[in-house]
Amino acid sequence: ASGGRLTLTGSSTIAPLILEVAKRFESQHPGVRINVQTGGSSRGINDVRLGLADIGMVSRALKASEKDLSAYLIARDGIGIITHKNNPVRNLTGDQIVGIYSGKIRNWEEVGGSNLPITVINKAEGRSTLELFLQHFSLRNSQINAQVVIGDNQQGIKSVSAIAGAIGYVSIGTAEYEENHGTPIKLISMEGEIPTSENVAKGRYQFSRQLNLVVRNTPVGLAKEFIAFAQSDAVKDIIEAQFFVAP
């Protein structure tokens, strides 16, 4: 196919990835224009429903109320618990995490660390990572007692690296990159499961989310082609370069 335009809107987590995918797609299909816009997962869903976008980007599984759309998984994103690098704690159990997030455990001493008050970093209401976290630990957001609430991924990393007693949860690939580049954070294991991209890929780490492209009906034409391309092996290197895990 030559010519044609495609508009994608949605999750700011997926946007940088898709932008790179789109660039490669464009270079292979001269004349095609793919416009990627951000705004958030629900914006992606909204715009697809209204026909404002051809494809939506949603960084979670579709909910029951969203079954009018069909989702195509392009990548996974493992979510890992991170702390400040100098924190001696290496592993937390699910109960401990629930205890920390609900404010029952307030000092690292109580989970085998040094005497340091815990700073709980949580995601803002509506963010898909938060929903996943709540679901995973069967919590309600109103039960959480956070000291810092953040929006995007990088803000989480920056906050944890700035506060010695902080605990937060972010995308594993991102955290790995930052860890390797000297940012003072570290991923810790959960119930003994070690958070690495590799483990996510191999299914040895449960706590992960889906990165989906969604469309209204079954995709046709250019949209179909693009989704197929994004799911193909041809973009695997891009997915890895953006610190996500190919499905």
Binding site: G126, S142, Q147, V148, G151, S159, A162
Partner: protein, 298 residues
């Protein structure tokens, strides 16, 4: 003096007047559209509060858990006010002092450099301030009182952001005070401090006030920088070291994921912010007008 004549005689004038009136009406229409848009988008939220008979519930504390249909905005409203007020309390004296230094103490060369620095600072995007605050100020505070991301951090970063506005407008206000007053003070054998504090500042008061108003509006409306350093926990600010969430940050944090009532509630908070700015400018309009009419000074 008003130009408005009993009859506009000249044809060009007439045409110009019509054209400008149309232009202004167009601009006014567009701007009115913005307010209407805000109201329309927040209407689902407002009307559902209305029907449930709990019009002012959102002002009472019941927590901000939109997923659980609990929309307590009061803590954020208060946090917005606290952050703005705090930033003014820090920035006003320092900014005024800088203006005084600029106007009365600095030699021209130093003053020029200082001014340049201030304008440069005014050009730094707020994301950069946020980044700077998050990587420099927050850790400093965290050393002392974790988590660091707090009301205090927001106040410090914001006050730095509004400082140039206050300093530059106040310096301009001081510069526009007639030299005759200064000479009057000197001739009475007053010390420099008295001349500045008791004569120049009162004389420049209303213009300084205008700059402060501008700064207040900016502080109230600032989003990104505050979002990055304030901690964003929805709670009543009880102390300087508590994390808080302001209204603008709330919009930015949640807008991209919000749907339905949640989304409408965010628009409602936008409306609330606008109402606050309006109250502010209306109040100041009243104050300055009354001041002018009564010719009343301290």
């Amino acid at each position: 003096m008003s130009w408005i004549a009993k009859g506009i005689v000249n044809r060009t004038d007439h045409r110009l007047s019509m054209m400008l009136a149309v232009l202004s009406a167009g601009a006014a229409l567009l701007l009115t559209l913005i307010v209407l848009f805000l109201i329309k988008e927040s209407w689902p939220f407002l009307s559902s509060r209305w029907h449930s008979g709990s019009w002012f519930d959102w002002l009472q504390y019941q927590g901000w858990y939109p997923q659980e249909n609990r929309f307590g905005m009061a803590p954020m409203l208060l946090a917005s006010l606290a952050v703005t007020l705090g930033a003014l309390i820090v920035a006003l004296p320092v900014g005024l002092a800088s203006a005084i230094y600029l106007q009365f103490y600095a030699n021209p060369k130093v003053a020029r450099t200082f001014r340049l620095l201030l304008t440069l600072l005014a050009g730094v995007p707020s994301v950069v301030f946020g980044l700077w605050g998050l990587t420099r100020i927050v850790p400093l505070i965290a050393l002392w009182q974790p988590p660091g991301a707090s009301l205090l951090a927001a106040i410090l970063v914001l006050s730095l952001m509004v400082l140039p506005t206050i300093a530059l407008t106040s310096a301009a206000a001081l510069a526009s005070v007639s030299g005759e007053l200064l000479h009057g003070g000197i001739a009475l054998g007053m010390r420099r401090k008295t001349q500045i504090l008791h004569i120049m500042l009162p004389a420049a008061r209303s213009n300084i006030f205008g700059g402060v108003l501008l700064a207040t509006a900016r502080a109230l409306g600032e989003t990104m920088a505050v979002l990055m350093v304030a901690g964003n926990v929805v709670q009543f600010p009880a102390g300087l070291f508590d994390p808080v969430r302001v209204l603008t940050a709330n919009i930015a944090l949640e807008m991209s994921y919000a749907m339905g009532d949640h989304r409408a509630s965010l628009f409602a908070s936008g409306l609330l912010l606008t109402a606050m700015v309006w109250l502010l400018s209306w109040g100041s309009y009243r104050v300055t007008r009354n001041g002018r009419e009564a010719g009343q000074y301290g």
